[in-house]
């Protein structure tokens, strides 16, 4: 390969699409040609500068997502209750109202006495939103071996923690340390299909009552949050409302970690 050919395929090299023999030849060329190596390095630095520059942009898509969701649900509602069958429409509306009332009473009941937890839940939801929607943090650990070492280091008393907290059909995507209300938590992100669920874990050897099981159905940003406490670990589960059954996940994690 000559320098012109190297220049032509540099974009493929930078996106990791160059493979096999061409990759071998590319590497061989830049190992011997300082000019081409310099150009490749310069392109790589430019990409990195671009990424950093645009990470500084605060882009919050929640307004547009809310508008889309409203239109989608509006569309569902108009199809779901055809005007030609008003009696059915009224029956469904009545049922929906009754269900909402029961739900509201149940939710209010379950929340009474947990106001102090609400602050923690909101902090966790904010962290989830900042991390996973706004991508404000770049200190995530993503390599499996590094993540395993991180958990061993943070929770030395809990051998095999990762296997115990990884639920079926999920995989650990990334981890980092974060601060929630002056406390340091390990923020673990699990991926199930395309959906991301956050689990915030902290050592709680005294089983502080702050972390008793609780469930908040809507903490803003269209997220729901559930707390759990198990043996000497406590945690908070955050996920998109209606898509991730955080209360079930919290219950399962509490059971698994209590074994």
């Amino acid at each position: 390969m000559n320098c012109d050919q190297i220049h032509e395929i540099t974009p493929l090299y930078l996106t990791g699409e160059l493979q096999g023999e061409p990759l071998k030849e590319f590497n061989q060329h830049i190992a011997e040609c300082r000019a081409c190596a310099g150009n490749v390095d310069s392109d790589r630095q430019l990409d990195s500068a671009l990424r950093s520059a645009f990470e500084e942009e605060v882009l919050n898509p929640s307004a547009v997502v809310a508008r889309v969701r409203k239109q989608i649900n509006g569309d569902v509602r108009t199809r779901r209750v055809p005007w030609r069958v008003p009696h059915l429409a009224w029956a469904k509306a009545g049922f929906a109202f009754a269900a909402a009332l029961v739900l509201a009473i149940a939710t209010l009941g379950s929340l009474s006495g947990y106001w102090h937890q609400k602050g923690m839940a909101l902090a966790a939801a904010d962290d989830h939103f900042n991390d996973l929607v706004l991508h404000r943090h770049s200190d995530w650990l993503v390599k499996p071996a590094v993540m395993a070492a991180f958990l061993d280091q943070q929770f030395p008393q809990h051998a095999g923690l990762l296997a115990r907290i990884t639920l079926e059909h999920s995989s650990l995507e990334k981890v980092r340390l974060c601060r929630l209300k002056q406390a340091t938590y390990a923020h673990l992100v699990f991926k199930t299909g395309e959906v991301e669920t956050s689990v915030f874990l902290i050592d709680n050897p005294r089983r502080s009552p702050d972390y008793q099981a609780a469930h908040l159905r809507n903490v803003g940003h269209d997220l729901e949050v559930s707390g759990f406490s198990a043996s000497d670990l406590s945690g908070i589960v955050v996920g998109p409302r209606g898509m991730v059954p955080t209360n079930q996940i919290a219950r399962q994690l509490a059971e698994r970690l209590s074994l």
């Binding site: 996106t15 605060v58 547009v64 889309v68 969701r69 991508h135 395309e194």
Partner: protein, 184 residues
Amino acid sequence: MGTGECGSLLAHGLSMREDRNFEFESVAFPHAAGLLRFALHLTGERTRAEDLVQETLLAAWRNFHQFERGTNCRAWLFRILKNFYSSQLRRNLARTEISLEINEFGLSVPEKITAGHEVREAFSHLTPEHREVLQLASIDGFAISEIATILEIPAGTVASRLNRARLTLRSRLQKRATAGEKNT
């Protein structure tokens, strides 16, 4: 068919539709921030960018039955957005002549004078074609083959555009750096 059967079928249909909504939201909404950034760089204006993303997501939802599960949803969404933008541009060009050079990004927070600002400023002066390939490759991390699908151009064209875009951006940044040194 009695009312009960009708109600039960309706409930079944409703449940399927809600499942579809959940599935759509879970695969499409995580890409909203990326789409918004792409739209912002294409349109140069926050309101227009949000409208474009909204139009894209609604079109994707309406055509979700055409989306093959397990394939690249992100590339599919970016392609829809790009198509919408191109047809908007064609409509606008038919009406009036507009400038393709966009100087403003419409950021939601006051920009600080930082190295990042310099890079964004230089990037904003690239041609729309150069901005879009650079954004897709360098910022959003799409592969050349994916960009080719999104923009509906050959992969070779994507690669050569990327080379030219990087060269132009680098040269602009170098000029700015030299001018900055002279001023100090």
